[in-house]
Symmetry: C2
Subunit: 311 residues, 2 copies
């Protein structure tokens, strides 16, 4: 596993940023712990997804690359895959729901992705992607339930643990589980008995419930400000989380906004609500982290400045 992560890292290294790790005395004091924030908000295109997308494309054969790739996503992965494909000279077909925000569509187009719009249902997204696979011979790349994507994501945890070898814990947000799965693999490979904890909004606590029930649970509602975390787990990510993640901490919407405000005001950096979920969990479950060295993965920084939650 360690070898797989190292090989993925060497593969993607020329195409990604080695993001900084920053600290805040004020927030440490509030948390009663030493927090090391891994700034994937500074990653290319603004989120960790660039790592997994790049690794997945680089693992394709020359023939596959020549025919292009396809995914369906309304969020950061669509942009990441489009940009990674552009960097590697590969054609990217992106299936997006017709109600996706114009700003996200134009970002994908800006990175050279070819958008096919479909009805805003999972079924329509999958059907449309399958059709493009058949017509163009393009290879489908899943946003998170893909081992190469997970291995690419693992490089964030690897960089963090190389810089801070003695972390007791790493906490990361959980949506489809691609980031936390990669983080868990890195903690095993590069950590010194480093545990991994997930953070999730109460409103979309499918990962928490999945760990409780021992099978993949779905979200019935998706009413959270953390729009990157609405997805349910896939079979690969569920298995990795179930086996290697210590626990999932859930947070309220108020706690997310309050943690996001803290990061913006005190650290002077822009993170998206999904990233703030990890700090919110540290602050609502202090006993879990007291006096520990904790890596906090800030997953991304793509926000619509016209729609901020601060009041």
């Amino acid at each position: 596993m360690k070898q797989d992560i190292l090989e993925s890292y060497n593969r993607i290294f020329p195409y990604i940023h080695k993001t900084p790790v920053i600290t805040s005395k004020t927030i440490d004091k509030m948390a009663g712990a030493n927090l090391y924030f891994k700034c994937e908000n500074f990653q290319k295109m603004g989120a960790f997804k660039m790592r997994g997308a790049t690794n997945a494309i680089l693992q394709l054969t020359a023939e596959q690359k020549q025919k292009g790739i396809v995914t369906h996503s309304s969020g950061n992965f669509a942009q990441a895959l489009a940009l990674a494909a552009k960097n590697l000279g590969v054609k990217a077909y992106i299936v997006m729901p017709s109600n996706a925000p114009e700003v996200k569509k134009s970002a994908v187009r800006g990175y050279g992705g070819e958008i096919t719009e479909c009805e805003p249902t999972l079924e329509a997204r999958e059907t449309t992607a399958t059709k493009i696979q058949q017509e163009k011979g393009a290879t489908f790349i899943h946003p998170f339930n893909d081992f190469n994507v997970i291995l690419g994501n693992a490089s964030a945890g690897k960089e963090l643990l190389e810089k801070h070898t003695d972390l007791d814990l790493i906490i990361a947000p959980v949506g489809g589980g691609g980031l936390i799965s990669g983080t868990a693999l890195s903690a095993i490979a590069f950590g010194n008995n480093c545990k991994v904890i997930g953070a999730e909004p109460f409103a979309v606590d499918d990962a928490y419930r999945s760990m409780e029930s021992g099978k993949i649970e779905q979200n019935t509602a998706t009413d959270t400000i953390a729009d990157g975390l609405k997805t349910s787990l896939g079979d690969i990510t569920f298995n990795l989380i179930n086996n290697h993640v210590e626990k999932i901490i859930r947070v309220s919407e108020e706690e997310i906004v309050s943690a996001m405000r803290l990061i913006w005001e005190r650290m002077k950096i822009i993170v998206e609500p999904s990233s703030a979920v990890a700090l919110a969990a540290v602050l609502n479950s202090k006993a879990e982290f007291t006096n520990k060295k904790v890596g906090v993965i800030l997953s991304g920084g793509n926000v619509d400045l016209k729609k901020l939650p601060f009041k």
Copy 2:
């Protein structure tokens, strides 16, 4: 001069952050230049003012320190002086206009500063400060028209030029002129024929007009979003600017907001409008900077998240 800056730097070093310098390929492409952003928004208390305030207090005698310091300010300098004084175990009396935002007053109080409110006129501020000087024996420290404050501010330019020795230019915003004066001194001491340019809103272009007329001009209106730049120059800063600053570039309010948005969206960092003025100037006067290596001082990151200019 070089020796003075080095001594100031060694004096304040334990009390300030050595802030990072960051770059953005996207913004470089837009500007047609290589920009090196010196991130004083990450400075302690969120602005470069921490440097000058700390240096000024450290230059006092033991007796002066024992009696405390006083200043009048409604902005970042009030907070910087309060925090610097706290760090050094010195009492800080801060005169603030009664209409200063509550958020700024509570920040000063949070840093242990003792606030005396007065009428919101320059005369009332000066009278109140003089009264405190007389009653408490406190030493008055001017926010910018003070050579020790300027020498402290110069440490930002020193750090920048140490890291990037071959800058052709440094651009910084101009309010009272304390930052650009220090930057100009650093450019002479540590630069390799490095020129310094100032940036100022059209709405408060007193420095531009002062350089034109050869004497200190005042602002009649102060209607700009860049609230740190409303002040007019002092005699010390005017002389330094007049002798050592190449020119002042003026920018519109729209250009400020647009540059601020660019920094927030592309660099994922929070800067205040006054900081964005420097990038706005680079973008509205591209010919001046084409293919050059340009240091851009991002002066601070203190904004009210409830009152953002993005539409």
